[in-house]
């Protein structure tokens, strides 16, 4: 009996509740409600600069990196040193256990005269043909130029003039907690796709990227992350502190990165010349139990910068480039601010005699 009565109350009250609620209009905290139109406007302002990138052909190696356990190592093709570096800047993206995507990808116009920035992910197969479709439907074939592997960026050039360049928000003005929309064209639609989130952190991946909880996946790699007004915060790319190719395995997990494009004009200029920037690698393992200041070397890897510079187990790294090392994690950052080929000054306290010496090291590749 009691149950019956209860349910009767439910039934009569429900439509009423729904009605009054809807009549009231917008509720007190309309933040989520307000998003709709603002997103539309923001996307509209940036969409002329967003292009679709389709790739054809290429080296379709899905797994070319380390063999998985139990899998025999694949013979690698012999290295051909004679090949023109400019023409073929990279090999296939190594991503053990993760297949690369074959669908269209996204790029962003960064200059009027046809330079387009995109994610390396889209070009991981080293495609023979790259087709770029502009917002107005025009199609171009694109040529590939340099790249920044520390940011996961690649540069394309199409033969077009007067392309619309979006507005950028300088990296220093991006704040944690602001809305962020990832816009892309990966499903080949006229209207770009939108993923919503906020800026989760700034200065991630050695101050090269902002972090967002908007879903980042092959569906929007290469597209811009924009703010409420349509200003570009960065380019959505798969990144990870682990290396220059990982990160895509975190797709749609709320951990996404957008490589910042402001303040790297010199790098972009070099990339237009075909330069490839790679992650710097010192080659030391640090003792996690040492809390700092300084970082204590646990071991060094053979054939690395550290090995060449004769850094030994037990040595204490005190400074990098004049900046004191706070702890081992900080050391990774200080090295990470550089790219392979940079020379840095390292202040080192030898374990053997306790003497502090300064050495100059050329950082290598991984």
């Amino acid at each position: 009996m009691r149950l019956l009565g209860l349910s009767a109350v439910f039934l009569s009250s429900v439509p009423l509740l729904a009605q009054t609620d809807l009549e009231k209009g917008k509720p007190d905290d309309p933040e989520l409600w307000l998003l709709h139109k603002v997103i539309q406007r923001a996307v509209r302002s940036v969409r002329p600069s967003i292009v679709m990138i389709e790739t054809f052909g290429g080296v379709r190696k899905s797994v070319a990196g380390k063999p998985r356990p139990g899998q025999p190592a694949r013979p690698r093709p012999p290295k051909d040193d004679k090949k023109d570096d400019k023409k073929k800047p990279i090999g296939p993206l190594r991503m053990p256990g993760f297949l690369t995507a074959q669908g269209p990808s996204t790029g962003l116009v960064i200059s009027k005269d046809g330079w387009i920035a995109t994610s390396r992910f889209a070009l991981s197969w080293d495609p023979s043909t790259i087709l770029v479709t502009l917002d107005d439907g025009r199609k171009f074939t694109a040529e590939r130029f340099g790249e920044d592997r520390t940011r996961g960026l690649s540069l394309l050039k199409i033969d077009a003039d007067d392309l619309p360049v979006p507005r950028f928000l300088p990296a220093g003005q991006i704040e944690v907690g602001q809305w962020a929309f990832a816009v892309a064209r990966s499903f080949g639609q006229q209207h770009p796709t939108v993923h919503v989130g906020m800026v989760s952190a700034v200065d991630r991946i050695q101050r090269r990227a902002v972090q967002t909880d908007a879903s980042a996946s092959p569906a929007n790699y290469g597209g811009p992350l924009i703010d409420l007004e349509g200003r570009v915060l960065g380019l959505v790319v798969p990144l990870s502190p682990k290396g220059d190719v990982a990160g895509a395995d975190w797709y749609d997990s709320g951990i996404g990165f957008a490589a910042t494009l402001t303040g790297i004009d010199d790098k972009i200029a070099a990339m237009k010349e075909g330069k490839v920037f790679e992650k710097a690698f010192l080659g030391v393992a640090m003792d996690p139990a040492h809390l700092g200041p300084g970082a204590r070397v646990l071991s060094t890897t053979k054939k690395t910068a550290a090995n060449h510079a004769n850094i030994r187990k037990g040595d204490m790294i005190l400074e990098i480039g004049g900046e004191p090392v706070r702890h081992s994690t900080h050391l990774q950052d200080l090295i990470g601010y550089h790219v392979a080929g940079d020379w840095v000054e390292i202040s080192l306290q030898r374990k053997s005699d306790g003497a502090v010496s300064r050495i100059l090291v050329e950082l290598g590749k991984r």
């Binding site: 989520l32 409600w33 709709h36 749609d252």
Partner: protein
Amino acid sequence: MTPAAVAVLLIVLSPCGASNTNDGDDDLARLRKAENRRRQLLASLEPAVCSVMSLKAQGGGSGVIFSPRGWILTNYHVTGRNKVMKIGLPDGKFYLSDVIGVDPGGDIAVCALRKRGPLAGGKWPHVRLGDSDRLKIGGLTYAMGNPFLLATDFKPTMTIGIVSGLHRYQGGTGPNQRVLSYPDCIQVDTPINPGNSGGPLFDENGLLVGINGRITIRDRGRVNTGVGFAVSINQIKNFLPGLLAGEHTEHGTLDMNAWNLPDPNTGRGEGIFLQGMLADSVVADAGLQLGDKITSFNGGPLRWTNDLARWVGVLPAGYEVTLGYRRFDERTRSYLEERVVSLRLAPIDTGSKHDKHPNVPDWNERPDFEALRAAEAAKDKKEGKKEKEEEQAEPLQEGERGKPVPMPGTGRRWEDLPQPYRKILPREWKDKKLPPEWWKRLPPDWRKRVPKDSWKKLPEIPKDEAKEKKRDLDREEALFRYMDGVMAEFRGKLAGALAGVDAGDRTLRVQVERVAGGERIEFQRTWVATGDDLRVTERGKTTTLSAAEAGSDLKSSLRRERDMNPLLQPQRLVDQLKDAYLEGGVFIGNRVGYVVAIRGPGRRAVFLDAEGLFPIGYRYRSFADGGIREVQFREFERLADRLYPKQAEVRLRGKTVEHWTFAPAQDRVGFVSMHERGLPVPRADVQTRIEPLFKSVVKIHGASGLRGIPGYGTGLVVSSRGHVLTWTHVSLLQGRCRIVFEDGSVHEYVRHREHPDLGVTILKPAGDLDPQKVPFVPLELPAEKTTYEAGTPVLSVGNSFKLAEFAERVSVTFGVVVSTVRSDLRLNLRKFPFKGDVLIVDAPSNWGTQGGGLFTLDGKLIGLLTTLAESAETNTQLSLAIPAYELAAFVAQATGRRKEAVDIASKRARERRAKPPVYTGIQLFEAARTLSPPAYIDRVLPRSPAAKARLRPDDLIVRVNEFPIRTCAEFRRALRNFGPGDEVDLTYKRGSRVRKVGLTLEAKR
């Protein structure tokens, strides 16, 4: 024009209205304002969020500082059995902290930072504890932490999302799922990933409402899939006093099994019946028998066993609860009146692996004083003898035998010496290095004791050692006895007070006599509340505090007394007393003063300052040497109608090691409640619109699935007769299933109609479903085609991972429409029946959400969630929904009252069959490889359609109409969609130019 073209057109046109732009301006300004508010809020919370790592291992988790003293809440699975954790704070530095209390059962640990904080007075930036019971489904939440240890500078990752579900029960691991269980957790779609463990979950006001600790993952590995769980802060508050007291807190249990069963006695209705218990369990002691129907818990009615599991799960062992039950009387064939028994929860054994954290002292341990005395006596005798021998054999004198005594303590500081030495040595040496040969200043018999090797081994008690120890043992034993006595007394008083107070009676007397530090304190306090006045009588002196005469100070103090003092509110007394021991914390100046709770029998107690019971002493564990110290207060000063200590004596192993003095007026000495009052209430958000949706979304339980394929799903009520629309799924294979409505009632359903092209099924009730008895609201499906622009905010409602059972609410996640895409064109989905426009959303799909609803924020149905689709295009899993307008016609037909024949034969399948193969005259360059190469034309046959269109070898085909062509295989597949005579547009690349040409297809020759 094809439907796809229409959709595209609409999408392009729709945002062009002028009114939209104005609205947008307004919205943008408001959103900016809200965004700024959030930015400031998050920035203010950031300094208290930290990374928690063990000293050795590479992994780690997160944590949050919740007190100015530098106490950190984190997960037990982050600290484990480590004693010391390193804490990375957003200033980029590491700090050391000690694990001081653990709750393995509830996956919580508390660490204390060793250093004083950077703020004024040595305080740490900290967050405020909120009230998790005030959360609403749909409310905004922020998670912070260090997922994947991304933050090399320890600046936390902050993510936003909504509350997807409340009061979720998630079993733990180990025997009976007793370790790391989440009995009453908060489910959020706020992204939480490995490394977020132990990090804070904040509500929109920035109050700490939970500790993130768990996610449910799919087959793609350890990343967030939109389902995260946080231990609710209200559960943590129940354990916090114990954790701060340095305890290994234990969860309570009733030691029984009870099940939701159809009534075996009367055959009508359902109930919770006691099906098993331990012979010596607390319920058996309380008089319950097998087969009893359990009706209430702690005064609240009980309907599902899940409720019982949840309510018991958040309580510590020793907590007093009431259980109501009804026994079936065989003679009268009816249930007896409900009987309510009061019992104490028994501790759960969490398993030996988690017992005895190395940092946690065993508070239950009682020194065997007799044995200790005997041992002392024996030792004294022996040492006394030895000493004499030593004295005779080796009278150590300075410079004797030509060997100068090394200089112990040289270079050390005065402070480093044991206290007895400091007493003797000159005080001018304080804060200075010890002079060489400092021991010469010692009396001759002391000097002998300074050993040769190390100053560190200075004997601690130079003289009268045995005597003092003996005396200390006596005092220690007395203290133990005394504290037990006080505790019993306190409990007795409260129980007495409880018995004596009923509604209307507003008088209460508490009388306590105790001896503290040799002083006898008699204490009697009486409160009489009449109207707005409060009369407080203490030691024969009566103070009347009246609102009229007292002025604002007294008024507020009066109000505070009335608000804070549960004893003055008879109606709340029962509730408050239930957690009387949970409400407590003693802050004494800057000293680390730990709350010690008044716990079950045999527990150490330190005191609550509420109700005039000032702290007279407590015990804590020192970080410096790990010793357990007793603090006893002496001399009290009255301030604002409370007594505060002015002096305290700190004793270690019976010896006084420190004296503290307080200036009560300046030092913060007082009572701090864990349950803060006057917290900001979360604002109403979308939850008001969400609430009605639960009456339309039902849980489906069908055939148990194969491994990895769930046997459950979600459905939408679509007719007034209770028809349910769902996605065709393995769980419906048997043709019969059970459907659970919002009220928890379970109904048998059978398959009614299935549409193979849409991939949906309509179920109907197996029997009659009385709409009067089952509270459901049928949903309306829009009949006209509607476009949903990318960026439209949506709610996805479905029973992901079967997290909701019976009357529990299904999960709600927030997202936006990502895009509307032709599923056959662009997604390259495998085994996906529906060919047409689908909605891609960024609200995650999970196992069990298939058949759920996609709603706009104002509660309108816009789509039916499908199974998790894997797109070969992006190589990712996508959340898809079929637009509701596509289903409207089928639903109307299938649920119509008229029994007309429904044509559900696959129209598209027939069309497809009707299309004969076509001829283009294009031969592609296709080498025999495992992967199909790009569609380069190898040959164009003469007089073919391709020749007419002037295609040439080496042209690269990239499109056929809107079908993207990346490979030769895709070209062939695309042509299957057309018949002879159809005109298609072919896009191709020649050189670096891209062109388009029309092609009229011919029948295959």
